[in-house]
C-alpha cells in the first residue's frame, strides 16, 4: 500500500540523498514501502508513523528520541523478536514489524537463523566507528597492525554522518569539509586496508574473564581477544523534565539530525529548540535547510551557550534566541501540537505571567550529552564524575590509557567535546599503542607523532577560551603514569588486555 504521507526530503541545499531501490515490508499487517538504506524506524516515520511504542505502566505513546541505538523508544517486535532497536536496523524486503505495547512477551518460537561463532585475535579492537575510532583505525592499520572496528549502526561514521556544517580547525584536520563528507573520506580510506575488519550492525555486549570481548552481529557471534582496546563509544543525549516530555515530537536534537540529514526525512513542520549550545544552534540552522520553520531557540542561561558564529547564522535568518527562558510544558494529542515557554529569574525559577505559546509539532532537546562509558565501567576502569565532561568518565593518562591495562578511551566517551578533538584523541591513542606494539624507528616515530598531537591539542587547540570548560574537565581526569599505576594496584580491574 502506498502511504498518503511522505516526509522524505527531495530537495536539500547541501545533501543529495541517494536512496536505494524500493522495497516492501509488513507493518502491523499492512505492506509498506521503504528505500533500501533506510532504518526501519526512519522508514516508518517517513510515512507518518509518529508513535513507535507505548510505555509499560501508563500506556503513553513514545516517538523517536535518540535514533542512534542508545535509548529505547524505538523498540519493536521484528520478525518475532521483541525489543529490537529499529533505529539501527536496516529495512529489508519482507520484514514483519509490530509495535510494542508495554513489556513484550518472549519470542513465541525459537530463532530460525543459524548463528555462526567467530573468533578474532586482532592487535586492536576499536569499539565505535565514529571520528575517534575511524581516525585510530586508519593510523593503526597504516602501521601494520590488525584492527577490528565494531559499530552498532549499519553505516560507519558515527555522528559525522549527520553533520552538514563545515568543520572548523585546520585543513589537515578536515577543516572546511562537512561532517558527512569527512565520514565518506574515512570510509574510503579504511577500505584501502586489508588489515581492518569493519563489523557494522554489531554490538559489543560484554567484557569477560581473560580479556575476552563478546559482540553480537547479524547471525554472527564474535569472541574477540585483542591485545588492546580503544573504546570510543560516544555519548548519548540528555533529557530534561517538563510535563509531557515523552510526547512524540519531543526528540533529541541529534535524533532529529539523524532523521533529516542522514536519511533525508523531515522531522516536523514547525520547531522549537531547547538549548543554545552548539548542538542547538547548529540543529536550528539545519532545520531551516531541511525546510522546517524554526519558531525560537530557548536558553535557560543569560547568555547563549554555543559559539557566536553559529548563533549569528540563525539570528540573521530572524530566528529569536530567548535567553533566560525555559520550556514549561508541551501538549498534543498523540504528537506535540503546542509548546509553552517561560522566562526564568536569576535563580532559574519560572516567572509566572511570562508564558508564551508556540504552535509547533517538534521540540528538540539540545540540553547536553552524557558520555557512554558502559564498556569502560564494566571492564573495571576507575571512573570519575566530571560535570564539565557530561558525567562519569574513566581516569586516564595523557595518552588516554585507563586503569585497565591497554584499554584506551577516546572521543566523546572520554568526556564530551566535539568531533575535531575526538579525531585528535583517536590519533593519540593509536600512536600510543603503536609505540608499544612495534619497535625500532616505527615505535620511535609513533612516539614523536603522539607528542606532536598532544602538544597541538593541549597547547594550541584547547587553549581557546571557548573550550576552557571541557579543558578543565579533561585536566581533572588526566593523571601521570605513576598515579595510574597506583590506582591500578589500589583498584585492580577484573581484566587486562595485552
Amino acid at each position: 500500500m502506498t502511504s498518503p504521507i511522505d516526509r522524505r526530503i527531495y530537495e536539500h541545499p547541501i545533501i543529495t540523498f541517494h536512496r536505494g531501490r524500493k522495497i516492501k515490508f509488513v507493518f502491523e499487517g499492512r505492506e509498506v514501502e521503504a528505500y533500501e538504506g533506510e532504518s526501519v524506524a526512519v522508514a516508518l516515520y517517513a510515512i507518518g508513523i509518529d508513535v513507535f511504542s507505548w510505555s509499560r505502566k501508563l500506556n503513553r505513546p513514545r516517538g523517536p528520541f535518540c535514533m542512534i541505538g542508545k535509548c529505547s523508544s524505538c523498540f519493536m517486535i521484528v520478525n518475532n523478536i521483541p525489543n529490537t532497536r529499529t533505529c539501527i536496523l536496516p529495512v529489508q524486503e519482507g520484514l514483519v514489524v509490530e509495535r510494542q505495547k508495554g513489556l513484550a512477551t518472549p519470542p513465541s518460537k525459537p530463532l530460525e537463523e543459524e548463528v555462526e561463532e567467530v573468533e578474532l585475535n586482532p592487535d586492536v579492537l576499536i569499539v565505535g566507528g565514529g571520528p575517534s575510532g575511524l581516525e585510530a583505525a586508519s593510523i593503526l592499520a597504516s602501521n601494520g597492525l590488525e584492527v577490528v572496528v565494531v559499530d552498532e549502526h549499519f553505516k560507519p561514521g558515527g555522528q559525522l554522518l549527520k553533520q552538514t556544517h563545515k568543520f572548523f580547525g585546520n585543513v589537515e584536520l578536515f577543516g572546511g569539509q562537512r561532517g558527512f563528507q569527512i565520514a565518506e573520506l574515512y570510509i574510503k580510506k579504511l577500505a584501502e586496508y586489508s588489515n581492518i575488519k569493519l563489523l557494522t550492525q554489531t554490538s559489543v555486549y560484554g567484557v569477560f574473564r581473560g580479556g575476552i570481548v563478546a559482540a553480537a552481529g547479524r547471525n554472527k557471534h564474535y569472541i574477540i581477544k585483542p591485545r588492546a582496546v580503544i573504546a570510543a563509544t560516544g555519548a548519548q543525549e540528555r533529557l530534561i523534565e517538563f510535563p509531557n516530555n515523552d510526547l512524540p515530537g519531543v526528540m533529541g536534537a541529534g535524533g532529529a539530525q539523524t532523521i533529516m540529514n542522514e536519511f533525508g526525512v523531515k522531522p516536523g513542520e514547525k520547531a522549537l529548540v531547547v538549548g543554545s549550545g552548539n548542538v542547538g544552534l547548529i540543529v536550528a540552522y539545519q532545520l531551516v535547510q531541511a525546510g522546517v520553520e524554526v519558531k525560537a531557540i530557548v536558553e535557560i542561561m543569560k547568555e547563549i551557550g554555543g559559539w557566536f558564529v553559529h548563533a549569528a547564522k540563525v539570528r540573521r535568518l530572524g530566528i529569536p534566541i530567548l535567553t533566560s527562558h525555559t520550556i514549561k510544558y508541551v501538549e498534543g494529542n498523540g504528537r506535540v501540537e503546542k509548546a509553552v515557554v517561560v522566562e526564568v529569574d536569576d535563580k532559574f525559577n519560572p516567572i509566572s505571567g511570562t508564558e508564551r505559546e508556540f504552535n509547533v509539532d517538534l521540540v528538540l532537546l539540545a540540553v547536553g550529552l552524557e558520555p557512554d562509558t558502559r564498556f569502560h565501567a564494566q571492564a573495571g576502569a576507575v571512573m570519575k564524575y566530571v560535570p564539565e565532561l557530561g558525567g562519569l568518565v574513566p581516569i586516564r593518562t595523557r595518552d588516554l590509557e585507563t586503569t585497565v591495562s591497554n584499554l584506551y578511551v577516546a572521543g566523546d566517551s572520554s568526556g564530551v567535546e566535539e568531533a575535531t578533538t575526538a579525531i585528535l584523541e583517536g590519533r593519540i591513542a593509536a600512536y600510543s599503542i603503536i609505540s608499544k606494539f612495534t619497535s625500532g624507528s616505527r615505535a620511535q616515530q609513533a612516539l614523536e607523532e603522539m607528542e606532536k598531537t598532544l602538544k597541538f591539542l593541549w597547547e594550541e587547540y584547547r587553549s581557546s577560551p571557548l573550550l576552557s570548560r571541557a579543558r578543565r574537565g579533561k585536566e581533572s581526569v588526566t593523571v601521570s603514569r605513576e598515579e595510574l599505576l597506583e590506582l591500578r594496584s589500589k583498584y585492580p580491574p577484573p581484566v587486562s588486555f595485552g
Binding site: E11, H12, P13, I14, H165, K166, F167, F168, G169, N170, V171, G175, G176, Q177, R178, Q181, V288, Q289, G291, K302, E303, I304, W307, F308, V309, H310, A311, A312, K313, V314, R315, R316, L317, G318, I319, I321, T323, T420, E460, Y461, R462, S463, S464, P465, L466, L467
Partner: protein
C-alpha cells in the same frame, strides 16, 4: 585575551558594528570607500584558521590557531574566497565605493538556489528585513553559494543575509 564581558554579542546572538570596530575587525573608512574588502565577523577565539589556508593574496594573519583573524587591508582584493570557505559563515565582502549602491558578498546555504538577477529580501544581523536587493553574482563552492547582492546605498554594513521567497 580581551575583556569580553563588556561585549553584548554573546547574550544577543548578533554583533553591533561598534563591537566589531572595537575588536579591530572593521577596515578603516579610507579602505572601505576604495573598493571591495573582506570583513570577518569572527569575534571569539575559535581554534580555526581555514580562511588563512585559502586566501589567495595571503592577506589574513594569525599567530596561533585561536587568534582572531587579522586582515592586511591593502593586500585584500575582496575576491570572496574567505566567504566561500569560512566554516562559521562569518566572512563577508563589502564594496562601498560606488556612488549609487553598495554591494555585499555573503554566504548562502538555503534553497531555492539564488540566480543572477533575482530580486531578494535583504536581512540585517538581527534578521530584520531592511530592503530589497538584486543578486548580481553567484558562484558555488562545496555547496555554499557565494552571493553578491546590490543593496540601496548605505546598507553595505547592515545587510548580512538574504531571503528568497519561494514562488
Amino acid at each position: 585575551m580581551k575583556n569580553m564581558s563588556r561585549f553584548e554579542f554573546r547574550r544577543k546572538g548578533y554583533i553591533e558594528i561598534e563591537e566589531l570596530k572595537e575588536l579591530g575587525l572593521i577596515p578603516p573608512s579610507e579602505r572601505l570607500v576604495k573598493g571591495p574588502v573582506a570583513i570577518l565577523e569572527c569575534p571569539e577565539e575559535i581554534p580555526c584558521n581555514i580562511c588563512i589556508a585559502f586566501c589567495p593574496t595571503k592577506a589574513i594573519k594569525m599567530e596561533r590557531i585561536i587568534d582572531l583573524p587579522r586582515i592586511e587591508w591593502d593586500k585584500c582584493t575582496g575576491c570572496g574566497m574567505c566567504v566561500a570557505v569560512c566554516p562559521g559563515l562569518a566572512a563577508f565582502v563589502v564594496d562601498l565605493s560606488k556612488p549609487d549602491a553598495d554591494y555585499v558578498t555573503l554566504p548562502y546555504e538555503l534553497l531555492p538556489p539564488p540566480r543572477k538577477g533575482d530580486r531578494v529580501i535583504l536581512l540585517n544581523r538581527r534578521g530584520e528585513r531592511v530592503g530589497e536587493g538584486e543578486v548580481v553574482r553567484v558562484w558555488e563552492r562545496n555547496k555554499t553559494f557565494i552571493v553578491t547582492v546590490k543593496t540601496p546605498k548605505g546598507l553595505g554594513m547592515e545587510v548580512r543575509s538574504i531571503w528568497i521567497e519561494r514562488k
